[in-house]
């Protein structure tokens, strides 16, 4: 630990930063409570709990600013087995989440351009471009990202992250540990589980060496349990959308998912989601839906279009369409039942093999069909995300199956999760309007 960094950390983050952010949350909460939507606004007042989400995420990135020299830093993919790292007190940066925040705050394009200027093609994932641009330029709306001491990349979401982390490894000159997760075309097989288990175990000595200390198995188990609690709670929140009218939208899920990705298992994350659930339950008691007039209930597949969340929710809300669930936000909870703290390593191997992006296209369709039934959905929007091949390939057949076999109107919406330059409001609106008309006719 570097004494100067430690001092900055204590003053900037522990003393001043935290209290400032908590003051800011109170003021945000007051503002949110005071919102009285205009009479023609299709949305009901927003969730006040979102203010705490903002506080948690800002605090996380604020700590990141001061982390180098105080805590070891690892940059990890969203599906990486972080329990080992947390047990060693690594500070974690999730470049995908960082890119998403940039996207939602309309900074992604400028950063992507930095990467494009360096020669990274516009055809590579816009998360990767956003983050590579941030790494190359040192710019980020979050102030400053700490340099990694270790990179951990898990291929259970895509191979893209492998290519991307190789670029980061070359840029930062730090070790890259790959957890390779065979894609599950079919049911998981023993040799696949053994392989992932061996790699998660192999991460321990690598991370210990960087951290300069040994991991305690007891702590590991505790972290597993906390992770499971958080995931279960998140799933419970998502499942509240079964109520009619649904108290939440998938867009609420997108906005509030930061902590379950970046800070999963942290006690404060648990407290935040507990509070959010209470607020949602109050809505249910009062019979208040997320939108004023819920006539159609719809599924969202794939990543959000970060820079159009507000626009899309209003556009659809005005037509009485509530997008209530998404396969994407669901992915952070649906595996909770697989987590078994009594056998932490093996159950981790199982969990990290099973994210929706690592399961077959047929299995993804099954998940969507189950959601249609459980949430009583009237239609599905499949965001065909130019940037995310693993999520999008297969959607043409999935859509056909939903529409033709199941009789659920479904539309493919061409867009990109982080690059506004390939999005056309006019075309998207026209397509969505036609989709709403088919639902109304159905």
């Amino acid at each position: 630990m570097n004494p100067k960094s430690y001092l900055a950390y204590t003053l900037g983050y522990q003393l001043f930063g935290k209290s400032f952010l908590s003051w800011q949350r109170h003021s945000d909460e007051r503002k949110l409570r005071a919102i009285r939507p205009a009479p023609d606004d299709p949305l009901n007042p927003p969730l006040v709990g979102t203010a705490r989400m903002k506080e948690l995420m800002s605090r996380h990135y604020l700590e990141g600013r001061y982390a180098n020299g105080v805590r070891k830093v690892a940059w990890v993919t969203s599906g990486a087995p972080i329990e080992v790292l947390r047990a060693l007190d690594f500070f974690l940066i999730y470049p995908e989440n960082h890119a998403a925040l940039c996207g939602a705050r309309r900074h992604a394009e400028g950063l992507a351009v930095e990467a494009e200027n360096a020669g990274y093609s516009r055809d590579i994932c816009s998360y990767a471009r956003t983050d590579i641009g941030a790494a190359l330029s040192g710019r980020t709306p979050m102030g400053k990202l700490p340099r990694p001491d270790l990179l951990v990349c898990c291929t259970n979401i895509c191979q893209t992250v492998l290519y991307w982390y190789r670029v980061l490894a070359a840029h930062f000159g730090v070790p890259l540990y790959v957890v390779d997760t065979p894609f599950l075309y079919e049911k998981v097989a023993d040799h696949q589980l053994d392989y992932v288990l061996e790699q998660i175990e192999g991460l321990i000595p690598v991370a210990e060496k960087v951290a300069g200390r040994r991991v305690s198995r007891g702590r590991l188990q505790e972290i597993m349990e906390q992770g499971k609690d958080c995931a279960e709670l998140w799933l419970e929140i998502m499942d509240r959308a079964q109520h009619r009218p649904s108290p939440i939208t998938a867009f609420d899920g997108f906005i509030n998912m930061g902590p379950i990705v970046d800070l999963r298992g942290e006690p404060e994350t648990f407290a935040f989601y507990k509070e959010l659930l209470r607020e949602i339950d109050r809505r249910i008691e009062q019979g208040v839906g997320a939108i004023r007039d819920e006539r159609k209930r719809v599924l969202w597949d794939n990543l959000p279009v970060w820079y159009k969340i507000g626009k899309l929710s209003r556009h659809l809300g005005a037509k009485g369409v509530n997008v209530i669930v998404s396969t994407y936000t669901y992915a952070w909870g649906e595996l909770a039942p697989m987590m078994d703290a009594s056998d932490p390593m093996r159950s981790a191997a199982r969990v990290y093999l099973h994210p929706i992006l690592n399961r077959s296209t047929g299995d993804k369709l099954r998940s969507m069909r189950e959601m249609v039934a459980r949430f009583q959905l009237d239609g599905a929007i499949l965001h065909s995300d130019r940037s995310c091949k693993p999520y999008s390939l297969g959607q043409i057949d999935q859509r056909d199956n939903l529409a033709n076999d199941l009789g659920v109107p479904a539309v493919l919406l061409e867009a990109d999760h982080n690059d506004p330059r390939v999005y056309s409001d006019e075309q998207a609106d026209a397509r969505l309007d036609a989709f709403v008309e088919t639902m109304e006719a159905a």
Partner: protein
């Protein structure tokens, strides 16, 4: 003014250009016309015209460049636009550096080394974003004459941002902006910004160098020029005949090859 020694033809997709040079390499006669579908005939006619105007009666050899370069009959050589632009601009401005050529179909960023050779280059991919066509197309949508594009954009009060760089998407964006009552000039400014951002990306991926030089049809557009200067922080150097640099370079390559008649 000497007599014509070599002729360069730049058969582009939107315009066809022809240049004659004398033994000293000075530009002594030129033509520029919209491209005809039958490039062979047009090129042959232009060559005849230049020979008649500046030749000494005999044959004057021809070097062809541009997208239709292989169709120019009787050319002794054909060479790519990249090499020719580098050569032409180097001679016209007498300095190495970085040349940006924004043409109708292609945009090129060329690093010109000492001696006028291209030492590195970048060209837009197939889509029209970042080329003159992007502006032309959109201008047509707004019923603005090409010559007026730049001045009107420069005179705009406010700017409508055009998020799509794709020509087709941009078109629908324009339509809806107009429908919402946006000012045409402000839209034009946004369109220029979008074009220039694409060009700047190409400049950076080669690595910005100075002096920065500009050629091609879009060089006549004042707004594009001002925005490019602003975005790169560089003063732009323009040759006297920005649109003729490809044809001029072609003629120079012929002259330097020494294979006189």
């Amino acid at each position: 003014m000497g007599e014509a020694k070599w002729i360069g033809i730049d058969a582009g997709s939107t315009t066809c250009k022809a240049v004659a040079v004398d033994a000293a390499g000075d530009l002594i006669a030129s033509r520029i016309e919209p491209a005809h579908p039958v490039i062979e005939d047009q090129a042959a006619r232009l060559v005849d015209e230049l020979r008649a105007e500046a030749g000494a009666g005999g044959e004057v050899p021809v070097v062809a460049t541009g997208y239709g370069r292989k169709l120019v009959r009787g050319a002794t050589r054909n060479i790519t636009e990249i090499t020719c632009h580098a050569r032409g601009v180097f001679r016209a401005l007498k300095q190495p550096g970085m040349l940006v050529d924004i043409g109708g179909q292609d945009t090129k960023v060329i690093v010109i080394g000492p001696g006028g050779r291209a030492v590195d280059f970048m060209m837009n991919d197939k889509c029209a974003a970042g080329t003159g066509r992007f502006l032309e197309h959109s201008a047509a949508r707004l019923s603005v004459a090409i010559e007026d594009l730049g001045p009107r954009a420069l005179g705009a009060v406010g700017e409508e941002s055009i998020s799509s760089t794709c020509t087709v998407f941009a078109e629908s964006e324009i339509i809806s902006l107009v429908a919402r009552g946006a000012k045409v000039d402000a839209i034009l400014l946004g369109l220029h910004r979008s074009l220039i951002s694409r060009v700047v990306a190409m400049i950076h991926s080669v690595g910005l160098r100075s002096p920065l030089m500009l050629s091609g049809g879009v060089a006549r557009n004042l707004a594009a020029r001002a925005m490019l200067e602003q975005a790169t922080g560089q003063k732009l150097h323009l040759p006297e005949h920005p649109q003729l640099m490809g044809a001029y370079g072609a003629a120079l390559v012929g002259l330097e090859s020494g294979a006189d008649r």
